[in-house]
């Protein structure tokens, strides 16, 4: 099944990658899985050689794929889908051209001759460097990276302007300090991370490996390994570089490796040494390998080897990659072909893609508004200043406080005066410098810190912790935490995401007979134990078996029925790529057979076959050993056509002990019925089809098994073609596919199997919660329509009261027609819903709609003019179920929504086939489940189970959004209040931009005086408890509706800002108007007032006061007072002792008190009024939390509440 197997990952740098042509297009297909090495090599990526577009694989992009399907006659893309699905074998062409690797594109590796291998160009040694910086480059490079942020450049320009004498507003140090602080904090963080990378690089580089030197293997440090050297690796050793296997401890040359560090898949994979190299008694010391240049495709390798005058071709199964570990093999010897930074793991190491959250995008909009406001304020000052200068132009020559002229010398010179025009320009520039904090510089750092804190708490959350696997939640992207609170669409994979991806064999249909009556839970069936050397071997998993089938298989009489049944089970046992591993148990007499394989379906089938008595015991490259009902038999594996998602089947050709040659084919029903010989046994085919239908309608995954006995002539013909294809250097995959297609015909139908993929715990509840939260859940699966629908029912996605719109068409016209019908239907439904419920409440509409569409139809719809129609239909429906979709179609569906609405999308999946969709969506979530870690690598967040999505979105997403939204608004407010205070004062200084607040205080204002509380609140404040949020998923709507941060709130906040700043300024202004107060004294009053005010303002909005909040708010106020006092204790500053003189007078204290109350009253009134008379849902829920005990009776039965809502009483 398509979704059941990890697909090969397309590599973005295939010769025909769309990047190289269109550049700016969003990647419609997945990047290869980034490997979790902390290094960003985005620059590296672009450096990769982009070869010419010569392979007929053709256009490797999603749109083209779909378009190509329409006009398949197009010569330039003969089988575009095929080529596209096999991007890993990127050079393969269907034309079958057997080109050799051109010398110019090949790397020559001389076995055991590193000197010659490194001629003429010196190849890198095996030392790696994942650090971004060296000691020398750290400062310039780090600064360069940091200044990619536009805001920093703004502050840099201002700081530079401040150095011009005419514009010097602040002292030199103070003008640079805030920027330096911000840059410094980030630089220290980056530097520390880089240092850690450096240290881990060092340990890597100093590891030891055995390298052949004069017939002996001597320990060598990893970093000294060079291309061409022969290396010996022992069991459980990590592999130091990419090397071609020459020999292993296994006589057939098999080596098992674990690739968990490379792609996260924990099962064992087999790699082979070529027979030709094995002959050399283990250590070949000569030979020439011609391989392709280093590339990042971890699933592809092309090379050939000249050894003993023969040319041998090498493929991906002959190479072991750095980052893997050798397992179950005593030793393996290989020759290094790619080292150091040219290894595939290093070429693949790139960080998670960086996304920018929607809130931040909106914040930038408001930042521009603030810039406009800043411009306005500066213009006002400038214009007024210009007018003032003009009006007083005659007086200013010798006015003591202006003094155009300098009389100190004999000749009267000009004093800092360049004419009114220049003065106006200077005034403008100076005012920009003075009011620069209008754009909050500290906000960027605060946001980073807050996201870090939020991520910490998300990771720590126990309720998102997989108890079974101990996997914690992972935050891979740090900058989109708050997007989690605004999701409107969830696109979910099915297999492994909604389900556990732990397959269990349930039903078998053999020759038209259904065997699905499995035994009781407790009976002892399901184990077939075999005695081997007085030991008991048994399969690790037990499978429930059908007694009837068991009896049939074991029955003595040789009937056609029994033979076919045996063939069926034999097919299950043989037709796979499972590697049996025999593991010891605590009981020395019992050993367990563990089936290691890449596909859970195959594992389930192998265990099932074992349960029915066909126990797969051993697999090598050439044969398998199966214990057939107690008799060990050896089957020669003559050929194997691997599974691919295009053929959707795999086949194996085995030479049976009775000298017959049998072809077993196993695959999806859609592909199998095409190659089954229906002329014979039409009834059986019909019966099987009906069984398949019933299996899939109870949610089982189905596979069909077919068989053909090959005549010797057929076999010989096949063998020669197979050999030819197998040794081809280029186009091998295509050739093999053609060979497979030739042989997989006229099959005899053996039967079908039904495998259950259990739903994960809590999935129906989670989906229900998400739907209540107003999130539309779309399921995109590769499964059959019936399977998808039945899973849809079992996970409560579909309900019986839903009206289903099913679209599965095979032409564009029929698609158009069914879409138009669907639109008519949805408009009819929405009209009747609107009449009943009033607009706006989709959640409670009485007749929900479900759209079920299959991949074939989507081919005709996506990327065509029908997209608009499907969009209309899909958005009108409550549930959308897409079945039989290809990985890239998943991304296309996400793009359909993302491009047409501004709604936030989230994609969740576990397999490689979900990578494209995860990267396309605004938020990508990977499930770290059975199918490896490719999805996790591409994701922004990773977790263990689907149901964790509920706490993630409803609780953390809600909190994060609410916190971040408030923090941004508050930061704007906080800085604006300060700027407006400065502005009011400037109006009374002849527009000369004097600031009463000391320059140190203006610098420390956003860094020390007010920074900590917003960060604490941004990390810790919770508007509602987790319990409430989980209980009322509808509360999530606040984020979807952008209730916490929007233009209206921004404008209201700015109006409040003007009022508050006016209160701060004018109360002392009026109180001290005719007094002896000096600049520093009143400046200190303003400083203290503004800091206390903004902190109390924050305090007024805090939902939960815990000790951390208390400490930070009161601590900041105290810290400010201390700072002000310290500044006023420096005798060389003009304000020496001013604060003490001020505090002596009662006026100071009464001003302070008055300011705080006068400033906060409007906000308090509005808050009290709206919270009581127009309560938001969140407000009501908060009250419910607090007074829940009073309303306990009513709160538990909210649904019925409506009946007595008009008789509510006031709380006494």
């Amino acid at each position: 099944m398509a979704s059941g197997r990890p697909l090969l990952i397309p590599s973005p740098k295939t010769p025909t990658s769309p990047y190289s042509q269109t550049g700016s297009d969003p990647p419609p297909h997945p990047d290869p899985p980034p490997i979790p090495l902390p290094s960003s090599s985005s620059s590296r990526r672009s450096k990769l050689p982009s070869k010419s577009q010569n392979s007929s694989g053709g256009t490797f992009s999603f749109p083209t794929e779909l378009r190509a399907s329409k006009r398949s006659s197009s010569s330039s893309s003969r089988q575009p889908t095929t080529a596209q699905r096999f991007p890993s074998r990127r050079s393969d062409s269907m034309t079958g051209s057997q080109r050799d690797i051109p010398d110019s594109e090949a790397r020559f590796v001389y076995v055991n001759d590193p000197d010659r291998s490194n001629q003429p160009t010196r190849l890198p040694t095996n030392s790696i460097r994942t650090t971004k910086y060296s000691i020398l480059t750290f400062l310039p490079r780090n600064l360069f990276e940091q200044f990619h942020r536009l805001a920093y450049i703004y502050f840099l320009v201002l700081a530079a302007m401040n150095q011009v004498p005419q514009l010097g507003v602040f002292g030199r140090e103070t003008s640079i300090l805030p920027l330096a602080f911000v840059l410094g904090v980030t630089a220290i963080k980056d530097g520390y991370e880089d240092f850690r990378r450096h240290r881990s690089d060092q340990t890597e580089n100093h590891r030891s490996a055995s390298v052949l030197s004069d017939r002996d293997f001597v320990p060598t440090r990893w970093k000294d390994i060079r291309v061409g050297q022969v290396i010996k690796v022992h069991t459980n050793d990590p592999i130091p570089c990419d090397m071609v296997l020459l020999s292993t401890s296994d006589p057939t040359g098999v080596a098992y490796i674990q690739t968990v560090n490379l792609d996260g898949e924990s099962n064992l994979k087999t790699r082979y040494a070529k027979q030709e190299t094995l002959k050399h008694g283990g250590v070949p010391t000569s030979g020439l390998i011609r391989c392709e240049k280093p590339n990042r495709n971890i699933y592809g390798f092309h090379a050939n080897m000249d050894i003993d005058g023969k040319r041998v071709s090498l493929g991906p199964s002959n190479i072991v990659l750095r980052g893997c570990e050798l397992k179950n093999t005593n030793w393996a010897i290989g020759v290094a072909v790619y080292t150091g930074r040219e290894t595939k793991v290093m070429l693949n190491s790139s960080g998670a893609p960086s996304k920018r959250s929607r809130l931040e995008a909106h914040m930038n909009r408001e930042t521009i508004l603030l810039a406009v406001l800043l411009f306005l304020v500066c213009s006002i000052v400038t214009i007024l200043g210009g007018i003032w200068l003009h009006v007083h132009r005659d007086e200013l020559n010798d006015t003591p406080f202006y003094r155009k002229q300098d009389f100190s010398d004999r000749e009267v010179g000009k004093y800092n005066y360049y004419g009114i025009g220049w003065e106006v320009v200077f005034t403008f520039l100076k005012s920009v410098i003075v009011f620069q904090v209008m754009i909050p510089i500290a906000l960027y750092v605060s946001m980073e810190l807050v996201r870090l804190g939020q991520a910490f708490f998300m990771i720590q959350d126990d309720s998102m912790r997989d108890a079974a696997t101990h996997k914690r939640f992972q935050c891979r992207a740090l900058n989109i935490n708050e997007d989690l609170g605004q999701i409107k669409y969830v696109f979910s994979d099915k297999t492994g995401t909604l389900t556990e991806n732990k397959m269990e064999f349930r039903c078998a249909s053999v020759r038209g007979t259904d065997y699905s009556r499995t035994g009781d839970e407790d009976d002892d069936n399901g184990y077939s134990t075999i005695a081997v050397d007085e030991q008991e071997w048994k399969p690790k998993m037990r499978v429930k078996v059908d007694e009837e089938l068991v009896q049939l298989l074991r029955s003595g009489e040789k009937t056609e029925k029994r033979e076919r049944a045996r063939d069926f089970v034999l097919g299950l046992a043989a037709c796979n790529t499972i590697v049996p591993l025999v593991v010891d148990t605590e009981d020395p007499r019992v050993r367990l057979i563990d089936y290691q394989g890449e596909s859970p379906d195959e594992q389930a089938l192998a265990y099932a076959a074992a349960a029915y008595g066909f126990v797969l015991l051993e697999r090598t490259s050439g044969h398998i050993v199966i214990d057939v009902l107690g008799h060990r038999q050896r089957f020669d594996v003559l050929g194997l056509h691997e599974f691919d998602s295009d053929r959707k089947r795999m086949s194996v050709i085995v030479g049976c002990p009775d000298k017959t040659v049998k072809l077993f084919v196993k695959g999806a029903d859609s592909s199998m019925f095409g190659v089954i010989d229906k002329s014979r046994n039409l009834e059986i085919v019909r019966a099987t089809e009906s069984h398949l239908y019933s299996y899939s309608s109870i949610g089982l995954r189905t596979l069909v098994v077919g068989m053909r006995e090959l005549s010797s002539s057929e076999f010989v013909e096949w063998q020669s073609a197979y050999e030819k294809a197998n040794t081809a250097l280029f186009g091998r995959a295509g050739l093999l596919r053609a060979v497979a297609a030739n042989i997989e015909t006229n099959l005899q139908l053996l039967g079908a199997s039904g495998i259950e993929d259990k739903l994960q715990a809590g999935v129906p509840e989670a989906i229900e919660s998400l739907r209540q939260a107003g999130i539309k859940v779309w399921v995109l699966t590769g499964d059959k329509q019936e399977t998808a629908i039945s899973i849809g029912y079992s996970c409560k996605l579909l309900t019986s009261d839903m009206t289903q719109i099913i679209i599965n068409s095979h032409s564009k016209e029929s698609c158009r027609k069914s879409l138009l019908d669907a639109i008519a239907m949805t408009t009819k439904f929405s009209a009747s819903n609107a009449a009943r419920n009033g607009p706006g409440d989709v959640g409670s509409s009485k007749a929900p709609l479900a759209l079920i569409i299959d991949g074939t139809s989507l081919v005709y719809i996506l990327e065509t003019e029908l997209e608009e129609e499907i969009f209309k239909v899909a958005t009108a429906c409550d549930v959308v179920l897409c079945c039989r979709v290809a990985p890239l179609q998943k991304a296309g569906i996400v793009a359909l929504i993302k491009n047409r609405t501004s709604d936030m999308t989230l994609a969740i999946g576990d397999g490689a086939n979900d990578v494209s969709m995860i990267q396309m969506a605004d938020v990508g979530i990977g499930i770290s489940g059975q199918e490896g870690r490719q999805a996790v690598m591409a994701s922004d967040f990773a977790m263990g189970q689907f149901r964790f999505l509920v706490p993630l979105l409803l609780v953390h997403g809600h909190w994060n959004y609410q916190r971040m939204a408030y923090m941004i608004l508050y930061n704007f407010y906080r800085n604006a209040v300060f700027v407006f205070c400065l502005f009011w004062y400037v109006l009374y200084t002849a527009f000369s931009l004097t600031t009463a607040v000391t320059e140190w205080s203006s610098v420390l204002y956003s860094v020390i005086y007010t920074a900590l509380p917003t960060i604490v609140v941004g990390i810790l404040d919770k508007d509602l408890s987790r319990k409430t949020l989980m209980k009322h998923p509808q509360l999530y709507g606040a984020g979807q509706r952008e209730e916490r941060y929007n233009l209206k709130m921004f404008i209201l906040t700015m109006m409040d800002t003007i009022w508050q700043s006016a209160a701060i300024f004018f109360i002392p202004f009026l109180a001290y108007r005719h007094s002896t107060v000096d600049i520093s004294g009143i400046g200190d009053l303003w400083t203290l007032a503004v800091v206390i005010l903004v902190n109390l303002h924050l305090g007024m909005d805090i939902f939960r006061w815990n000790w951390v909040t208390h400490a930070s708010i009161w601590g900041c106020i105290v810290a400010t007072a201390i700072c002000v006092i310290i500044i006023d204790c420096i005798p060389v500053l003009p304000g020496y002792w001013a604060i003490f003189e001020m505090m002596k007078e009662g006026l100071f204290w009464f001003c302070l008190l008055g300011i705080i109350f006068v400033a906060l009253i409007p906000r308090f009134v509005v808050k009290a009024f709206t919270e009581y008379f127009f309560p938001s849902d969140i407000q009501v829920a908060r009250e419910m939390e607090k007074y829940g005990s009073l309303n306990a009776a009513t709160a538990t039965q909210e649904v019925q509440m409506s009946s007595y809502s008009n008789s509510h009483q006031r709380i006494p």
Binding site: A996, S1075, L1147, F1150, Y1172
Partner: protein
């Protein structure tokens, strides 16, 4: 704000939803990492809102009354003399009058004490439209130079009054010092001189730490343009209290500076004669000069603003308290009633 800490911490826990499976890998439950710290959750209930407003009103009104009465008790005599102290015939050319060294600048004024003024009676001069807070002006000083003799050369910030024509530094340098106020006042009552105490009119901190004992005026007012008062070169800066007061640059363009104190009670209807040396040039920029005699109170000088402001705010808060009481009475709402949730409200509306 009322605290609900104890109950919230107990009820917020969600841990009970998944039964604790004790195994070694599971870390110890921490209230901090699970974000379940005990916390107070303030909610603006009617009671709190009304209490808050009433409380503000109750506190603010007495404060307002107190400060009004304090301000009322302050007796203040303000006499603007800048225009009247120019002889009639020179009024058309005030600048010529003030800039000429020939004219007689002595001017006699008389003020009547309106009410009993208890000593000390503070003498201020008030300047108007004088931007002592102008950026060019504020920056033109050298605090280092004022503080110690060693930094005498430190005049880089003092332009355009940093060095005299022979290149030696001016002490004290800068525009501020240069423009030192130089009108003088002497008071008499019935031809009896009222002593003006000019000691301790500056802040003690300034005298002891900011202005050096070893710094003596040098080259002061020696340039082409005389800005204001001259200083006695034999008295260290720390003793030059008029300068120290002047160097505390005023925050606003209208400001007072302490001139001295009369340490005698003044009786109502006393007619006090003031002899003013009207030297200081505010005429060039249209500044006003006023002489102010004032007593003081705990609130400072005479200023009704604070009292009025407090009374207004207090009254407004009482009014708001009343408004909210009425609102709560006429449009009551059950706190925490789930039927107010938007998704229930529609259904409720339907039921009605």
């Amino acid at each position: 704000m009322n605290s609900n800490g104890a109950s919230s911490s107990a009820t917020d826990g969600v841990r009970d939803s998944n039964p604790p499976k004790r195994n070694s890998k599971r870390p110890k439950y921490s209230k901090f990492t699970q974000q379940e710290l005990p916390a107070c959750k303030p909610i603006l209930t009617p009671a709190i809102v009304i209490t808050t407003f009433a409380l503000i009103g109750i506190i603010f009104i007495p404060i307002g009354l107190a400060s009004l009465s304090a301000s009322e008790r302050v007796v203040e005599i303000v006499d603007r003399y800048d225009l009247d102290c120019i002889p009639e015939q020179l009024r058309n050319d005030q600048l010529a009058f003030i800039q000429s060294s020939q004219t007689n600048k002595t001017c006699t004024r008389s003020v009547i004490v309106p009410r009993y003024m208890k000593s000390p009676v503070f003498i201020y001069y008030e300047l108007d439209n004088f931007y002592q807070n102008h950026r060019r002006y504020v920056k033109s000083r050298s605090d280092k130079q004022l503080r110690s003799k060693a930094s005498e050369q430190d005049t880089s910030t003092c332009a355009p009054e940093s060095i005299s024509s022979d290149g030696s530094p001016i002490v004290p340098c800068g525009l501020i010092a240069w423009s030192l106020f130089n009108d003088t006042y002497s008071f008499s009552f019935n031809n009896e001189v009222l002593m003006v105490n000019k000691k301790n009119i500056a802040w003690g901190s300034d005298k002891s730490h900011k202005f050096g004992r070893d710094v003596y005026p040098k080259n002061f007012q020696s340039g082409q343009l005389i800005g204001g008062a001259t200083l006695n070169a034999s008295i260290p800066l720390s003793e030059q209290e008029d300068l120290i007061v002047w160097m505390r640059t005023a925050a606003l363009p209208t400001f007072r500076k302490l001139y001295g104190r009369i340490e005698e009670d003044l009786q109502p209807n006393q007619k006090i004669t003031v002899v003013i040396e009207n030297n200081y040039n505010t005429y060039s920029f249209g500044g006003k000069k006023k002489l102010v005699l004032s007593t003081t109170s705990w609130i400072g000088g005479k200023n009704d603003f604070l009292g009025v402001a407090y009374l207004t705010v207090g009254g407004l808060c009482l009014f708001l308290a009343l408004v909210f009481i009425l609102l709560y009475l006429f449009k009551p709402r059950t706190m925490g009633d789930p039927s107010y949730l938007s998704w229930n409200r529609n259904a409720a509306g339907y039921a009605d």
